[in-house]
């Protein structure tokens, strides 16, 4: 039925996505096999140390590559496998980043490898978006009565909070509470019942700002917002609050649609900086759950300080809190 209702244009796009899927799938399998069979050669090729730790890591990454490759080839239209490649890319970039920090030797090769991974990441993001958009376009349009604008990115994340919907809604509706759990937000200034001014840390610690307007407000159920005018990062979204079955509190559903600065490349850079929006939204929701269930954001020795990775041991520096 889905195929029958698709237009010629979107069939052509689907064909493109499938060819991309095939290429990415076989690329994963080839790379995975090389990493498992010859981890040291691969390490030398990309300019990282070929010691035991790297060998182990390389093989682990190889297994992951194989799994995503096989997954993509078997189910080219399941976005999960596409995103498993993206998650893997982010991991590789992080590892290459640490290799860059770690040694001067072979820096050129590591930079080249990073650039290659970044390129592949862009392809992966593109493919993930193609698959996901195809699947969610109609559903999203139905849900909100709008159509996706070209170039927008979308994320949906959900969490269950052991508090009643009115309490969760009430906390969120006081928008100046949001920086307590949204790590990238610097401030939200409430202008009036509908309008507010937002400041957030963007990529490379550049501050981005925008005004937002609440477009729908159904107490204890839903808040929808939209960035106004010339926003640095165009964004709109809804947060829905629905009672969890069995008296388990509230299911909070965030749908976020945004137009990142720099389009797909911007997304890739954000991922490189560990600011992938889906992950960020989910981490924010987890912190919201902590604030509402236990009154504060929980930190560990490894997560309380700026700069990662930090070993799991105390530090003399002042901790960061949200």
């Amino acid at each position: 039925m889905e195929v029958a209702s698709r237009s010629t244009a979107s069939r052509a796009e689907a064909g493109k996505a499938d060819r991309l899927a095939n290429a990415l799938g076989w690329f994963s399998i080839g790379l995975g096999l090389a990493q498992i069979a010859a981890p040291r050669s691969v390490a030398r090729l990309i300019g990282v140390k070929d010691d035991d730790k790297t060998t182990t890591l390389m093989r682990t990454i190889g297994v992951r590559e194989l799994a995503s490759g096989i997954g993509i080839l078997n189910q080219p239209r399941a976005p999960g496998w596409a995103w498993s490649r993206v998650a893997g890319d982010v991991m590789d970039l992080a590892l290459l980043g640490s290799a860059l920090n770690a040694s001067d030797e072979n820096r050129g090769r590591t930079v080249a490898a990073s650039a290659a991974v970044l390129g592949v990441t862009a392809l992966d993001v593109l493919y993930g978006q193609q698959v996901k958009r195809r699947q969610s376009e109609e559903a999203m349009a139905d849900e909100r009565g709008t159509t996706a604008k070209d170039g927008d990115r979308e994320v949906t994340r959900v969490i269950t909070i052991n508090r009643p919907p009115d309490e969760v809604y009430g906390f969120w509706r006081r928008l100046d509470n949001l920086p307590r759990f949204m790590r990238h937000l610097e401030s939200v200034e409430v202008i009036d019942q509908q309008r507010s001014h937002w400041r957030a840390k963007g990529p490379a610690d550049k501050t981005v700002e925008w005004d937002a307007v609440i477009t729908q407000d159904r107490p204890n159920e839903l808040i929808a917002w939209q960035a106004e005018g010339n926003a640095d990062v165009y964004n709109e979204g809804t947060v829905r609050f629905r009672p969890a079955p069995g008296g388990r509190g509230t299911e909070v559903v965030v749908d976020l649609r945004y137009d990142p600065p720099g389009g797909a490349a911007g997304v890739a850079v954000a991922k490189l900086l560990h600011r992938e929006p889906g992950q960020q939204v989910y981490d924010d929701l987890r912190r919201l759950k902590q604030v509402l269930e236990i009154g504060e954001v929980v930190v560990s020795d490894a997560t309380a300080y700026p700069g990662t990775p930090h070993p799991a041991q105390p530090d003399v520096r002042a901790e960061v809190t949200v």
């Binding site: 929980v298 020795d301 799991a312």
Partner: protein, 391 residues
């Protein structure tokens, strides 16, 4: 302060690190008097648990004296003597309210890492990888204890450290392993692994009314301890029999044990081609865990019986005998121990003299000797069963 740090595969060092401080309002700082090396620490030592960083402080079995409390901690005061449970739990989420403390939904600040590996995240654990929170552990002079109003158990009766220290992990873990078997009078329970957790699983199975408890291991000293101290009625050295399964059939009238406890986990030993297969797959990272004891426990268990898994697994296993589980109606129960749920009850058993958990201790040394403790424990040197470190 001095702390035992993971420095890489098979390398731990006691080094000077900054003292811990209060980071959340329900924290306490504990000056550690006794701490222990757990069998599960050996999986970290052997580099089999992902997301360890050089410099991570190890240790999740510890006790000591409260020296500082956060502003929201009302039940403890400076000077209290406490045993600290290894899972970190908030007490307020749905899991904690259902007494499933090791599944706390709020205590792992790195939940996203665990989700990548396991789908969902369990609770944070002291000194047990970044994937489980990146919390500094307790093989140190001091530790920061989050949710100090939920976890730590006050010890007010002057019982020695040696008698109560293991309430932090291995006694409750062994107890939960036995409890998950749903033991009824007349039942026969088999326990794979006579390490410290296995010893407490055996003792607990007896306490819970098992008729016979069979201990399975390869080290005679561990089997002797199981028989003489923990109360096992039968012992099986798997290196001396052709087939554990056949031996258990002979011992149980052909039925198989009513319940089987896996107190071994991901680094099981064995013999024969399957053992070689698992060693190779684990070494090449084609599987993360060697499920030799688990496979054996499944195939040996009687029809309709229970397989209770308290040995630690980290990732993926191969050749899992699902056909045996399904067709013979087995129940698999498992989990990191919900220590907070069991501590008070088990302290009662210790106070009444039903059990003295210190029987597992074979070596006591200074915190600064921790590296030697790890070496001895991993090598089973000098009949090593349990190492306690005094800070």
């Amino acid at each position: 302060m001095k702390a035992t740090c993971w420095m890489g595969k098979q390398s731990v060092e006691v080094v000077d690190v900054p003292d811990p401080k209060i980071l959340n309002s329900r924290d306490a700082i504990v000056r550690i008097t006794s701490t222990a090396i757990c069998g599960s620490d050996l999986h970290l030592y052997n580099g089999l648990v992902p997301s360890m960083e050089k410099g991570d402080i190890l240790g999740h079995e510890f006790m000591g004296e409260v020296v500082e409390i956060g502003r929201a901690v009302k039940n403890l005061k400076v000077g209290d003597r406490v045993v600290v449970p290894f899972p970190i739990a908030c007490g307020a989420c749905a899991a904690c309210q259902a007494d499933a403390y090791s599944l706390c939904e709020n205590s792992n600040p790195n939940a996203w890492m665990a989700e990548k590996m396991w789908g969902h995240s369990p609770a944070g654990i002291f000194g047990y990888s970044h994937m489980l929170g990146g919390f500094a552990g307790g093989q140190a002079e001091y530790a920061r204890v989050p949710f100090a109003d939920v976890g730590p158990l006050k010890i007010e009766n002057g019982l020695s450290d040696e008698k109560v220290l293991f309430l932090s992990d291995i006694f409750p873990t062994g107890f939960m392993g036995a409890e998950m078997c749903g033991i009824q009078r007349g039942q026969v329970i088999a326990v794979w692994g006579a390490g410290p957790v296995g010893q407490f699983a055996i003792a607990s199975a007896i306490m819970l009314g098992a008729d016979r408890v069979i201990a399975i291991d390869r080290f005679p000293y561990r089997l002797e301890m199981a028989r003489d101290k923990a109360g096992a009625t039968d012992i099986v050295n798997y290196e001396e029999v052709d087939s554990v399964s056949e031996t258990l059939k002979e011992m149980t009238g052909g039925r198989g044990p009513d319940a089987c406890i896996d107190a071994v986990g991901m680094e099981a030993h064995g013999h024969g081609p399957m053992y070689v297969y698992d060693r190779v797959k684990q070494a090449t990272k084609m599987e993360s865990d060697r499920p030799i004891a688990l496979r054996e426990a499944i195939t040996a268990c009687r029809n309709g019986g229970v397989v209770s898994v308290v040995g630690v697994y980290s990732g993926f296993i191969d050749k899992f005998p699902m056909g045996s589980v399904m067709n013979r109606g087995l129940t698999i129960r498992t989990g990191q121990c919900h220590v907070q749920k069991y501590m008070k009850r088990l302290l009662g058993h210790i106070e009444r003299g039903d059990i003295d958990p210190s029987f597992v201790i074979t070596h006591t040394m200074d915190l600064s000797d921790a590296p030697r403790g790890y070496e001895m424990f991993v090598g089973k040197d000098d009949n090593c069963e349990k190492v306690v470190l005094k800070a």
